[in-house]
Each structure stands twice: as structure tokens, then as C-alpha cells.
Point group: C2
Chain length 447, copies 2
């Protein structure tokens, strides 16, 4: 079976029909496309760029396998000469991008592709697919991290992520944004993300009683057992842990903590904390899960809930309150001429652009300016070269390094942008005089 | 790189830590798990079962590769004996399920696994992941199909689906639910789903003018060109099509239609229809796209918008208004003893269950009864054997056949459930006396 994650057939049909027309009409000059988000979701004051590494891997490996070429030929949709062209197609272009973990805003390109038109066009659908997903999750995860900076946050969402790639992307993007760990085993194997886990209700239910279940689990995992105490009655479960702890200690087994997955998590954790503390189990940690998101997290943290960690599942992995971003990959220049889409409500800024960022005296974000790549403008530049001639300019940074960078980026957020609710005034992103002038010239030329 | 879609490492860590404890404590007797949705999303009056075939493929192929075993061993998380057990682990169990395309409701199991506890437990995370995704999308797609039954609906959402597998699942699940086609090329290669496509704004922009772009595209695709007319000015674009059509006809080229992707789609399509009709282009079809979902579709259909087809993208592929289902895979019986989770707000019905469906005289759904598998009860039974001894009982039905079955299922929906807004009274799903009695007995036994 063709691997969907690698295949150039994971694309919209029109990419191929357009490609055939580009070749036939010799529209093979240099094209400049930029990826950006048109509008932030209502509940997002900023976004976090992610997915660049998977995108570069896709671009670097772009090619049609024989099986794919044969299928295209047999489909009857294309002329034989086109299939021959596809057989030698590779991505030979340039990519500039914001580093993963960079905080960004609407209209700011986070990635630019410069390549012969057919190459730059063909990669659109999958490039958007890859950047969208991880940026979506990293942005949601960052809100959780800002809400509970001192807690251990863990991605628990694999089972309801939208498929295998989404589950892996969620583990990666949430870790990048500051999560401590994931429950997804393959994410440790592939990305080196720490994994943690406890037990499920089914484990408790498979035993004749909770006590037997707790003992069996702790004896099997003597160093780090976290017991799920809410299968039947949470407080009774906590008292059972207190009873068993000395017996287990006598066997050399130290429990790590308990997990509560249902009920009034705030009230229950206070009571459980009391039971554990008065029962000589002050060292045991309390982990909470069950339908959590950044808003619920905020309530729990504000109420000083005595929890050490939180498992955030479905709401994180599907970005429940904003499951998509209005992101696009738009042609900004072709054959040296800036281009601008003027569709109603969807106009874009033409040309090759740079984002210039200004910080205040305290190192917090003050304003960004969207300008032309080649203009002289003060401020930090956010887009940097990452690929030339279809090859990465350097090895992918370690994920831990990108995570550290993301933490620095989040530290630059001014107070109004850190909140969970829409900031009264959105972050100012201006347009440079040079860019505004270019847009006017393009409009005049195409009027 | 390990293939995430196949790997048993795409799971929650606790599945493996529980497994180790199951082996160590010899909890290897027969377990019965059922997959069901606890509550329907507010905007869903019914759901459509989907994803069974991918789930069976996963179960049938379940095994740990040497690379996976080596990594687990090196992780230091597990004892060597456990790795040996994993090396020989296969799925040897039974599966009963609702056919793909079946309409179902809260609390109704759509799939049951009966297998030795370790096998039945290990498969949980990925099984939920697979069934959740396609059921989610099929249920969203069915709403679109019911809203616009006479229109050509096309999945346009690949680029913002949550990754590669989600894009493929969205194409498959929406076709199953009655969509006519997808834009995703690989979905035609893998599933035989018809693909359609038009052109992108970038294609028009890459040319010096719209006319040149239209001519080049039509000449390359003389049988089925659909021209995107909203890049600069939709009505001017439509008039240009009218001007070019006779020239192209003289070359033997028949345009298929136009697409509008922005602006007031209802008003624009009426004006465009007039321009085309009065310009001798009455045969040209109008396709609409741009931020569509079933609600927008409903408005357009009610307004008798003269459109022939609709591309539904992001809203479909991420199920925007309800991006997750509250679905679970719960232990219902272990070693012959029914089990019941009683966590606050999350209690489940114990035992092996069947759904008995009652239709009214007109063949419309009247009520369902959740009962025990072995009880005598009137009504159609919805769960059927699909796997025994880890092997499929029959080849997967053709997708077209499941699609036909789904259409029949949707035809059984009574009027109140067909609407887009929550039905005043939800569909009645009763519980049989035998099941209620069993639940009481289980509660008493574990009290």
C-alpha cells in the first residue's frame, strides 16, 4: 500500500491538472509562495509555528514512485508526456521559514517557497496539511502551558486524535510548546519525548476488587506506579491506597501517585490530598484527567487545586475549540512580478516578505511589521533560510532545543496576549510603506 | 522509520504497563470490550458507523516488529520476559460490529471485541482512534448529504485535515455517507473514490491575465475544464468565460463549468447563472466552495441557489462544530463475570449486548432497545459477527456497497432526526429488562 504520509498523490487533483497545464504552457519560471494564517481563531491571541521539520522532510523526499506513476498513467486523466515529466520531478527550490516554536500572528508568513512554478504548486496541499496540524496543536498547547506553568502537563489524546499522524503530531507539537510528556509510546521512540502512563479503569475492573488490582500493578511496576482511584469510589480508593502503602513499602515498593479521572476534580483532589497526607502518604502525587482543556485547567489552578500533573487529551489533540486555522499558501510573485489575489475578503499582500519584530524595554513583544524581504527595517527578522536547492541548510534542531526556544518565545508575550480570552486589542501587526506601495502598484497593474 | 499507522507502539504507555501486569498476574482470561459513544454532540441527532474495515485490518495485522521489540527492550521500562511475550502476541479474538454506514445512537455498542484480556486491552487506543475518526466524519458528511440530496458534494478538505491518515479517512467516510467525490488523488488510488478538481487562484495569477489562464487550462483539459472565476472579479470572470466559450468550441473544447470560491455565493451564482445562460453557456455547471458546511449549504439550497455542486472542505474534514466524539471502549465482562464502571457520570451497561431496532410502518426508525446478546427480543439486530479467531469472516464489502447501505440507513431516519438542529426529543433508546436486571446484580455484587 502506498504510504500516504510520503506520497505526492496525497494532494488535490487540481494540483496535478494545473501541473499538466503549466508544463504544456511552459509556465515553469520561478514562483514565490508564502504560507500564512489569514485570521486567528477567536480564542487565540497568538499562534506558535510548528511542523517545519516534517515539511522539509516532505519537500526533500518529493518524488513519484513507479507504482504512483503507473497508476496515474492508467487513470486516463493525463497525457503520457506529463507522466514522464512527473517521473523526474523533484523539489529543487528554496525555503525560508520561522523557526519552530516562534510566536506569530495573522498575515505573517511563517514559510516561503521559491521554486519553479510546477514544484512550488505541487507541494501546496501537503505542505499546508503538515504546517496546519502542528501549528494548530502547538498553539493550543501553549495556552495550557501558560495557564499552568508549574504543573506537569501530559498529552493524553492519542485515541481521539484524527488518525495516526495527528496523534504523533499532537505529541510532538505539545511537547514543543512546553508539555512535559506524552502517553503515546511511539512518540518517545520517534521523537524522544518522555512518556508517562498510569492504568485504565478496565485494569481495575478486570480484578475482583480494587485492592488486588492496586497490588498487582504496584508489584509489577515497583518504582513508578500511579494508581487510578476513581473506578468505584474515589475517596474509598484513596483510603485503600493509604492502607496498602505500608504493606507495599515493606516489600520495597514506593508508589508514585494516584490519578482521578472523573467527578468534581477540584473537590476530590482536596479530599484525596488530605487522606493521603494524614495517612502518611504525603509524598504521593495527584494526577488529574478527564475532559480537561486550558479553561478547566485555569479554574483548577486558580482554585489552588493540590494536583501535581494533568493529562490533557481530546481537547488538546483535536484543538476542540478551534479545530482548524484559516491558513493558506499563496502565490506572491511569478517570473519576477509580484502577484496579489483580490478575491472578495481574501486579498493578500504581494511579494517576498519579512516579519520585523519589535520588543519593548522588558523584552516583551511590542509590535510586528510586515515588510518586503529586501527593505531596510529595524527589528528582529523572523524568517530565515532553511533550504536551498532542495536541500536542508543544516540538520534539524533537536526537539528539546526547539522546545527551549519556544519557552523563550512564550516569555516574550505581553500580559494581554497570555490570557485565555480574546485580548481587548489584538497584537499590532503593521505593514511597511514599501509593502503598501507595492500592493498599490500590483493593483494598478492588474486593474 | 516505524509506520505509525501499523505499529502497536502507536498506543498509550499504560496499555503496555497494564499488559505487563496482566501477564505477571495471569489475568489472561476472556475479556469482552464494547465500543460506544456516551453522548452525541449537541448538533448531532444520529451518528453513522464507519472505520470498521481499517480496524479489522489493524487487528488482523497486529504484531510487534523486531525493531519495535528492540526499542521496548532498550527503553528499560519493561522486564525481558514481557518483551518475549509481546514477540508472540497476535490478535486471536472475536469481533462483532455494526456494518459501516449503520445509523446509531448514544450508548449503542457499534463494535465488540472478545479476546484474552491482554490482546483485548492492548488494541484499545488504536481501535478507538480508527473508529472515532471515520465515524466522526461520516456523521458530519451525512448531515451535508441530507441537506443537499440532489447536489454533487465533493470532499475538498485534505489540506486542513489533521494529517495524512485523517485526509484519507475523510475522503472515505464522506463518500461512504453519500458524497459524490473527493479532490484527494490518493483516495481514488486506494479506495476507488471518484476524484474531481478545478484550478486554484495561483494558476490564474501565474498568468498575465485571466483569459490566458482560462485558455491554457481548457486546451490542456479539453473534456472537463472547470474554470475558477473569482480571482479578480467574479462577474467579469463569468463574462470572460462566455466570450471564450465559442472560441474554445471552435477548437473542439467543451468547458464543463465554473467555480466560485469567495464573496456572496448565493447572489453571485444567480448572476453568474444569468450571464452564462444569456451568453449561450446554459450547459455550464456552477460549483461553489469556500468555508461551506451543512448550515451554509442549507441556506444556499433553501434559497434555490443555482449551483450544481459544492466543495466542502475544512468544516467536513475536521468536523468543525464537533471535532470529537465522546466515545469509549469499555470492559463489559471478564472471565465470564459482567463488569460495570461506576465512575461519577461515566457508568456503563455491563455484559455482551445487542441493539434491537424497531421500524414503523413506513420503514422509519421508531425506537432501539439495548439488550443482552442472548436475550430473545423483537427488532432488527444491528451487531453481526465479522471476525473469529483473529480472521475476518469475509472479505471487506466494496466501499460502493457500504455507501449504498448507508443511503438506505439514512432513508430510515424520521423527519425530526434529519434536521440540522437538535431534535426536540432525542431518538428513544431503551434498555431491556434483562439488561437492567444484570446491571443491578453487578452493582450489588461490587457494592
Amino acid at each position: 500500500m502506498i504510504d500516504a504520509q510520503r506520497s505526492p498523490l496525497l494532494t488535490d487533483l487540481y494540483q496535478l491538472t494545473m501541473l499538466e497545464a503549466y508544463f504544456q504552457s511552459r509556465i515553469e519560471d520561478t514562483a514565490v509562495f508564502e504560507f500564512f494564517v489569514r485570521r486567528l481563531p477567536e480564542q487565540r491571541n497568538f499562534l506558535v509555528a510548528a511542523g517545519l521539520e516534517q515539511t522539509l522532510t516532505f519537500l526533500q523526499g518529493l518524488h513519484f514512485d513507479q507504482e504512483e506513476l503507473d497508476w496515474l498513467a492508467a487513470s486516463g486523466k493525463f497525457k503520457p508526456g506529463f507522466i514522464d515529466r512527473l517521473a523526474c520531478l523533484r523539489f529543487t527550490g528554496e525555503v525560508d521559514a520561522m523557526a519552530e516554536g516562534t510566536v506569530f500572528f495573522a498575515d505573517e508568513p511563517i514559510l516561503r517557497v521559491i521554486a519553479p512554478m510546477p514544484e512550488a504548486q505541487l507541494v501546496e496541499s501537503r505542505l499546508v496539511n503538515l504546517l496546519h496540524l502542528q501549528t494548530l496543536i502547538a498553539s493550543k498547547a501553549a495556552r495550557c502551558v501558560l495557564t499552568a506553568p508549574d504543573k506537569q502537563l501530559v498529552d493524553f489524546g492519542m485515541r481521539r486524535a484524527h488518525g495516526a499522524e495527528a496523534a504523533m503530531a499532537a505529541a510532538r507539537a505539545s511537547y514543543l510548546a512546553g508539555f512535559a510528556a506524552t502517553a503515546t509510546v511511539l512518540a518517545e521512540q520517534r521523537f524522544g519525548i518522555p512518556t508517562v502512563g498510569t492504568m485504565a479503569h478496565s485494569f481495575v475492573q478486570a480484578h475482583d476488587g480494587e485492592e488486588e488490582a492496586f497490588l498487582n500493578f504496584a508489584r509489577c511496576h515497583p518504582d513508578n506506579a500511579v494508581l487510578l482511584i476513581d473506578t468505584y469510589d474515589t475517596l474509598r480508593g484513596a483510603r485503600r491506597v493509604v492502607e496498602l502503602a505500608p504493606r507495599l513499602a515493606a516489600e520495597g515498593i514506593a508508589l508514585r501517585g494516584v490519578r482521578i479521572d472523573s467527578g468534581d476534580l477540584g473537590a476530590l483532589s482536596r479530599e484525596v490530598r488530605k487522606i493521603l497526607d494524614t495517612g502518611g502518604c504525603a509524598a504521593l502525587k495527584i494526577f488529574l484527567s478527564g475532559n480537561l482543556d486550558e479553561f478547566r485547567l485555569d479554574e483548577l489552578v486558580r482554585a489552588q487545586t493540590p494536583a501535581d500533573g494533568f493529562g490533557i487529551g481530546t481537547h488538546l489533540d483535536v484543538s476542540e475549540d478551534a479545530p482548524s486555522l484559516d491558513c493558506v499558501y499563496k502565490l506572491q510573485e511569478y517570473a519576477g512580478m509580484p502577484r496579489r489575489k483580490r478575491s472578495s475578503g481574501k486579498a493578500t499582500w504581494p511579494g517576498r516578505k519579512q516579519v520585523f519584530r519589535h520588543l519593548d524595554g522588558a523584552g516583551r513583544l511590542s509590535r510586528d511589521v510586515l515588510g518586503l524581504l529586501d527593505e531596510e527595517s529595524p527589528g528582529q527578522t523572523l524568517l530565515h533560510p532553511v533550504m536551498r536547492g532542495g536541500e536542508r541548510l543544516r540538520a534539524a534542531p533537536a526537539l528539546a532545543q526547539s522546545r527551549e526556544y519556544c519557552a523563550q518565545q512564550l516569555a516574550t508575550l505581553p500580559e494581554p496576549l497570555r490570557g485565555l480570552h480574546p485580548a481587548r486589542t489584538p497584537y499590532p501587526v503593521g505593514v511597511s510603506d514599501a509593502l503598501a506601495a507595492l500592493a498599490s502598484r500590483v493593483d494598478a497593474a492588474f486593474a
